[in-house]
Amino acid sequence: SQQGEEDPQALSIQEGENATMNCSYKTSINNLQWYRQNSGRGLVHLILIRSNEREKHSGRLRVTLDTSKKSSSLLITASRAADTASYFCATAVSGGYQKVTFGTGTKLQVIP
């Protein structure tokens, strides 16, 4: 089964609104990363939050991590049409090397 699962699977909002995506995982992690994918091709790294951090900001992105609940959320504020993409969380765990496992993704559509 997937280590990381995003929720919701799909999200449609109006431009200017905020978008929140959640990620749940099963085992202890070293860090959690969020990626964006446009048009089914290469992913772009957005932000990395370590297991000892609770919140991190980058521009219009805000990521929180709750290790007790094994969950993370990605908030995109003041969304733009260009934010339309699939968003994946990825968890890094130790086990010989830090294996990174990707979730199933949230498909975000921002309507102009």
Binding site: N30, G42, L43, H45, Y97, Q98, K99, V100, F102
Partner: protein
């Protein structure tokens, strides 16, 4: 500097043929990963390289799949006797250190007829 590149960008092949997919990682990146993504699905881990050794091949779906890497540079993913279920986008990523940010290539879209 240049990002991760993959070639070809698209490959159409007939069932039963062998295909070779290439990945050029960012210079200096010791870690390299291959993933498979079927249409509308998440990323499926295939193999991880640290340098030119592959400590984790657990994601390779069958013995028809193999990969190699030359030093800390080019990697090739080979699929022998392709099947229709092999149709997917194959993504390569590299990073400076295991578990850190991964830089992805644009992928190779493989279609097996």
């Amino acid at each position: 500097g240049a990002g991760v590149s993959q070639s070809p960008s698209n490959k159409v092949t007939e069932k039963g043929k062998d295909v070779e997919l290439r990945c050029d990682p960012i210079s200096g990146h010791t870690a390299l990963y291959w993933y498979r993504q079927r249409l509308g699905q998440g990323l499926e881990f295939l193999i991880y390289f640290q340098g030119n050794s592959a400590p984790d091949k657990s994601g390779l779906p069958s013995d028809r799949f193999s990969a190699e890497r030359t030093g800390e540079s080019v990697s090739t993913l080979t699929i022998q006797r392709t099947q229709q279920e092999d149709s997917a986008v194959y993504l390569c990523a590299s990073s400076t250190y295991r578990g850190n940010e991964q830089f992805f290539g644009p992928g190779t879209r493989l279609t097996v007829l």
